[in-house]
């Protein structure tokens, strides 16, 4: 019964999230909107690469950074999607307290609200990869993709995204309204530490162990191996595909456990201080 109620909360939260994400405009404009942002983000890297290399995009480094950047969109979007719900429901719609009264589990509600972001981001990732293949000589061939490995890596990576989203949601519960950029800032740090657009080995030595402790490092490496047959970081070259998967599984589960505990702790602070229904202005 409890499981059914939680799944119902998840489903309804997903439906609500989709409505809020998409029904502010017509479907055509929504599709354009969903694509322009990620393509622009990818093009920033492309132009940076072009400026230095004089227009070359054939190298392994380019393919690695392009694919890494495309999939990293999930991190930013899911973290933002889950954490911004707290701010939006609490500050603008003033419904966050009712979610505590109505939803059987706030975790399932927050995760459900991120489903719309997942769907939109999946479309964006597909478009960015298609664009790269069509116009930038990205060496991707559907026949060469290891689909089973990709599915396993992708699922675990999404689990890690949910865990980090919950961590950010915990911070939002006790933050004032201008926490809007928090998820983005945090995603930026992960973007640096996980070697998303450059090999991990380029990072200063003290930062490399930090990067190796974050699940997204293995996620992005695994996605590159599944799509292109090779990774980008020499320091991970000695780790075989099975080990990448195992490390990703363990680190994602560990992050999720920490995130649940952290959210519960922040929630307790928020209840103590009467912050669950606070409204802040600036």
């Amino acid at each position: 019964m409890a499981v059914r109620m939680r799944l119902r909360a998840f489903r309804l939260a997903a439906w609500l999230g989709w409505q809020m994400e998409s029904n502010w405009t017509d479907p055509w404009l929504f599709a354009v909107y969903s694509i322009i942002k990620p393509v622009s983000s990818a093009l920033i890297l492309v132009v940076m690469y072009y400026v230095v290399t004089g227009g070359q995009t054939q190298g392994d480094l380019f393919a690695g950074l392009y694919v890494g950047n495309a999939f990293f969109m999930y991190v930013g979007q899911l973290m933002f999607g889950m954490s911004w719900v707290v701010m939006e429901d609490r500050e603008f719609f003033r419904t966050f307290k009712y979610m505590y009264l109505a939803a059987p589990s706030i975790y399932w509600y927050l995760t459900g609200r991120a489903v719309a972001k997942f769907l939109v981001t999946s479309l964006a990732v597909a478009v960015v990869l298609g664009f790269g293949t069509a116009f930038l000589d990205l060496p991707l061939a559907l026949g060469a993709v290891r689909w089973g490995y990709l599915a396993a890596v992708l699922a675990l990576g999404i689990l890690a995204c949910v865990a980090f989203g919950l961590l950010m949601a915990g911070i939002m519960v006790i933050s004032a309204r201008h926490g809007q950029g928090y998820a983005e800032s945090f995603a930026g740090v992960l973007y640096l530490l996980c070697g998303v657009v450059f090999p991990l080995d380029v990072l200063p030595a003290p930062l490399q162990p930090v990067g190796r402790a974050i699940p997204f490092t293995y996620w992005i490496e695994g996605v590159r191996r599944a799509l292109m047959g090779r990774g980008m970081s020499p320091s991970l070259a000695g780790v075989d595909d099975g080990a990448i998967l195992a490390i990703l599984l363990l680190s994602s589960l560990a992050t999720l456990a920490v995130a649940v505990l952290f959210y519960a702790w922040m929630e307790r602070i928020a209840r103590d201080r009467g912050l669950i229904d606070q409204v802040t202005e600036h």
């Binding site: 405009t25 322009i36 942002k37 603008f92 950029g181 928090y182 930026g188 640096l192 450059f198 090999p199």
Partner: protein, 271 residues
């Protein structure tokens, strides 16, 4: 006349005060608005290093990263601010206050500049130290002058945006969201804007940061010969756009306030 001026100046101060005080009340912003953005800019620094780019590109990225603070502030705390105020029920209070709307917007801009400068300075100073960025010291004052012109024009554009967004519902949020990465790309936040097709770079000049960044880079970084236009000309264009945006903001505000009243949108929430 003097009394009216004084009242408006007090409104500017009052609206700015909230943001200045707010900056010091939520100390989490030190981590999220200074330290973390610096690290995310670091990703582009390491990418340039991995590619073996000329050293001045590190400075370009850092300056662009610092300027994102202002662009985000203009988008989220200027242009879409009247939308937020509408959502929280404060817009009508602003509108019945016996001061010019421009004074309220000017106060928002002043407070916003204060908040953003804290973040931008953090990124620039810490980043320059961490990544060993070299500056042409003789170009610093000219760079500062162009920077101030850029800010004036940019916040003028933000005021135009505020008047347009006043009409919007949730589209305001999505429009502001849409104007992040595409503008980072078009304005050359992380690379010389001359790398874009000439017509596209020229069109992007409508955003003051495009010209401002390009001009500042040319005067403060040694060996920066990859500018779009002469920095003097860019400064002149910024001065013109500054005046144009203020006039446009004033006109747009009156026109759209009138329209919003007729269509009953000023107090319409959650749509």
């Amino acid at each position: 006349m003097l009394e009216e001026l004084e009242r408006n100046l007090r409104a500017v101060r009052a609206r700015a005060y909230v943001r200045v005080v707010g900056t010091f009340r939520e100390l989490s912003w030190v981590a999220f608005e200074i330290a973390m953005p610096l690290l995310s800019v670091g990703a582009y620094v390491f990418l340039y290093r991995a590619l073996g780019a000329p050293e001045r590109y590190i400075g370009y990225v850092l300056l662009g990263g610092a300027m994102t603070a202002y662009w985000l502030n203009v988008l989220w705390s200027m242009a879409s601010q009247f939308y937020w105020e509408k959502q929280s029920g404060q817009l009508e209070i602003f509108f019945i206050t016996p001061v010019s709307r421009m004074s309220i917007l000017a106060g928002m801009a002043a407070g916003g500049m204060f908040m953003s400068t804290a973040r931008a300075l953090g990124t620039l100073v810490l980043g320059s130290w961490l990544f060993g960025v070299q500056y042409r010291m003789e170009g610093i004052w000219a760079g500062l002058g162009i920077f101030l012109l850029t800010l004036a024009a940019l916040y003028g554009l933000g005021m135009v945006g505020a008047s347009l967004f006043m009409m919007y519902g949730r589209e305001a949020w999505h429009t502001a969201n849409l104007l992040q990465e595409p503008i980072y790309l078009l304005s050359g936040f992380y690379f010389p804007v001359r790398a874009l097709p000439r017509w596209l770079a020229a069109a992007a000049g409508i955003i003051p940061i495009t010209l401002g960044l390009d001009a500042i880079r040319q005067v403060v970084f040694p060996g920066a010969v990859d500018g779009l236009l002469d920095p003097g000309l860019e400064a002149a264009l910024l001065a013109v756009s500054c005046a144009a945006y203020f006039v446009l903001a004033h006109a747009a505000l009156r026109k759209l306030e009138d329209l919003a009243k007729r269509e009953g949108r000023l107090t319409l929430r959650w749509q």
